[in-house]
Amino acid sequence: MIGAAALAIVVLSVAIYVFGRSRAISSAKGSLKNLHSRPSYHGLFCALWTFLVGIVLILVLGVLSRQYIESELGGRLDGYVAESQLPDDGLAALEGVGNLDDAIAALEGVPADEATLAFTRAEIERFRDIRGGSARFETTNLQAQLEDIQRRLIIGDSIAIAEGRVPSRIDRLRLNLAQEFREQEQLRQYAIGGLALAAALLTALITFFRVSLPFRARNRSERLIRFTLFICAAVAIFTTLGIVLSLIGETLIFFDKMDWRVSDFFFGTNWSPLSNQREGFISPEDIGWLPLLAGTFMITFIAMLVAVPIGLMAAIYLSDYASPRVRAFAKPMLEILAGIPTVVYGFFAAIFVAPLIRDLGQSIGLDVSSQSALAAGIVMGIMIIPFISSLSDDVINAVPQSLRDGSYGLGATKAETIRTVILPAALPGIISAVILGVSRAVGETMIVVMAAGQGPNLTWNPLETVTTVTVQIVMLIIGDTEAELSAGPAFTLGFALFVVTLTLNFIALRIVRKYRELYD
């Protein structure tokens, strides 16, 4: 229905364009010069407004009303559970019963409808018991949250049934709720569609009657277009703002829960935020991010040890030594290296490099972990080679030919020219390339998720398993833990990562700008 309404709004926009245009032509009475704007601009003015009003209304109402319906559904659910007529001894019969079929069997003689309801209620009660039995769940807030989980599950299932997706379970209660959801959803869609369409129609009429000889339709519609363009440009700001706000928001909430023991986060050496997850809280003693930071920087350091010499020397060789044929072959090869998705590098690290390093280490009597920092670092280095080499290539080529000529003219060899003239001149650019490379390595996720370990480990030994900031974010978010618990540390790590990479980029950008001033 909403789709149909959107389509209708598009059609209406096209129609009002045509009508507005012809009204402008007819009002000009044969002499188009009398019009302030060409007829098509009158049409455009009407169409733009109609389209914008309709679509914006659909989006806004769509988002808002859906949330309303879901809360409505929650109310219905509570109603159903309360209506359940089963006596308490019935509930007792359901003690320890795990699935619906068994429940129906256990409640012999009770109608299946009732049995299903009773079973659902028993499950909710059981949740209540779990949290009741634990001293940790004293606050009513947490009680409510746990009850909420079961309720959300039922509501989610009902919606799934209504939308033809696969629910976790089908029972009478869910079917009933699904039926109600379907009805409400239909009503909602009609309401939104109708409202948006009506508003669009109204806009169409208003703008249509504004078409007249002196009306400055071109200026008006161009202003509208400019405004739209501006909004698009501002999306970048909204996004940055959104990212910063969401990260800061969650981080503040998290630190608030941690009693503002911020130093425990920055200087603590123990990272195991989920060690108390069964009790449902995070202890400030468990949120020291130093092991993660150390792991991140160890892998980054190894990556840079691989990427910087190889990338830089490759760039030098390609720009100053290689024959055109070698260049024509090697450059695209490096670009291919740059285009390979990181998940492929991760797979490569996990099935080839890590076992290789482990076997090599064992053959010389070293104890190498199968998820060593070394393996992840080397592969990440390979990923960053093309990045370093292409940025270095740019800055090396930016060194003017006249400097090379000056050096050659004095009888310097190529190597002397590169080492003593070109590299010093290109140094700021190369440094900023390396910093950008570091920033990439720090934020890289897939390689470390697949090839580095998950256990925090504060060590200097690159043959051991370490974990990184990004790995922990992924583990927290995709793990089985309740989002209420894991989101805090994950977003806090995300915020720290954001600050680190942004700072690195800022430094790199400053260096590049200074460097550019040198030659301009």
Binding site: L403, G409, L410, G411, A412
Partner: protein, 272 residues
Amino acid sequence: MSDQVETTTPVASGGGADPNAAVKMVGKGVNVYYGDAHAIKDVSIDILDKTVTAFIGPSGCGKSTFLRCLNRMNDTIDVARITGTIELDGQNIYDKNIDPVQLRARVGMVFQKPNPFPKSIYDNVAYGPRIHGLVANKADLDVIVESSLRRAAMWDEVKDRLDQPGTGLSGGQQQRLCIARAIATAPEVLLMDEPASALDPIATAKIEELIDELRENYSIVIVTHSMQQAARVSQKTAFFHLGILVEYDDTSKIFTNPTDQRTQDYITGRFG
């Protein structure tokens, strides 16, 4: 390519300001190709020691290309190909056992645009002596740097700021620094590719003065766009046109009584 090339262009020679000047460099039947383009066509020329030789001619006539042949700077261009022989003190510089790197130490070059390295003034001048191992210790190097800067007539201007970057100097100073840098390597021949074209008249005058002084020790070849400059600083002048050496003679003769009609047309400003 055989060393004996039949010359089709008449070789004008000798009879300059100093009749006793020895022949320093000899070009015989030199051809240069840039890919398919034939840039220098069969040029033969004798360049004298302790003499300033000027190459003049309209843009694209090949004078700079030929100049770059004299210290094999064209080697750095992949597509350039050269035939014929160019001799330095009787030895073919395109011979297999001649090292272009060492050759350039003997035949120095100053470029059109001042190109000081982004290093200190001292390091700029010391660059050549250092890479060639010209001196054994720092004291000797100091001496060379000072004497080169003196010869380039800028010692007094920079002696107090030798550790400041060469790129911070004015255009004229930068170019004289480049000349000092070239001298410091102790070359025998100095090639200058329009050394004053990017400079203002006062700086130009200083450079020209410098060239005149340097003549006492070096064989200097200068490419110039300005006929007045050629007339002012050189003793011998070679006129290039479309890759051909049209006429080569004493500067005074070229500017007063050229043999070839094309030379006549050029110096009277009919084309160029």
